[in-house]
Amino acid sequence: MNKAVDERRIVTLHFGEIKVGKDFIFNFPEGILGFEDLREFVLISEEETEPFKWLISIEQPDIGFPMLSPWLLDIEYNPGKIFSHEKNVFFAIVTLEDENHQMTANMKAPIILNSDSLEGRQIILSTDKYSTNFIIGSNK
């Protein structure tokens, strides 16, 4: 069997050209808010930015979201029972603010990746407990 069939070759902005096996591609049936047309993403880790991960679009590989496990920021983070599933892994999208590059994490609208079905989606939690701009560290 031809291995290339199971691989996608993409040229990313962040990591140059990479090959992605199809078992590493997450399908987002509804895209990500603001990016509804993008359906396929790959999760990439890079040593210097660990423990952050990068969610890179397969279809538009210059698009990449830095993300972090919300539990690294709040050990009591609780997205609620309806989304909790042993195969679901949660990430908060991280934004750098314009002025000072302060990092903030969106705890209100986490990305969920299912390691079994390889499906992904962004949900919005109904609770008002979690901020869209949780401040990470202090950038002085």
Binding site: D23, G34, K53, F65, T95, I124, N139
Partner: protein, 99 residues
Amino acid sequence: MLVLSRKIGEIVTIGNSIEISVISYDRGVVRLGINAPRSVPVHRKEVYDRIIELNRQAAKTELEAMKSAISKSGYNFTKSLNSSESIQVVNFSTIKNSQ
């Protein structure tokens, strides 16, 4: 846009499974009660807009900017095992060495 007038306690239905009732009105603030299936997300519009704006900003984050923000943050990230260890991740350092 369809515009309807409703009194307190009256209800508007949308489709077969969504009901919106007017609970109260006080000094310019309308309180609405919404019954909808769990599969229908209901959110304040400004929350939704904020998330889109944040996503657009996050999507163009550069690797170098991220590295510098992390080192400047002074935040002590525990690199120990966490839930993300059990998900399919392409390790860039590994693929870089193998190419």
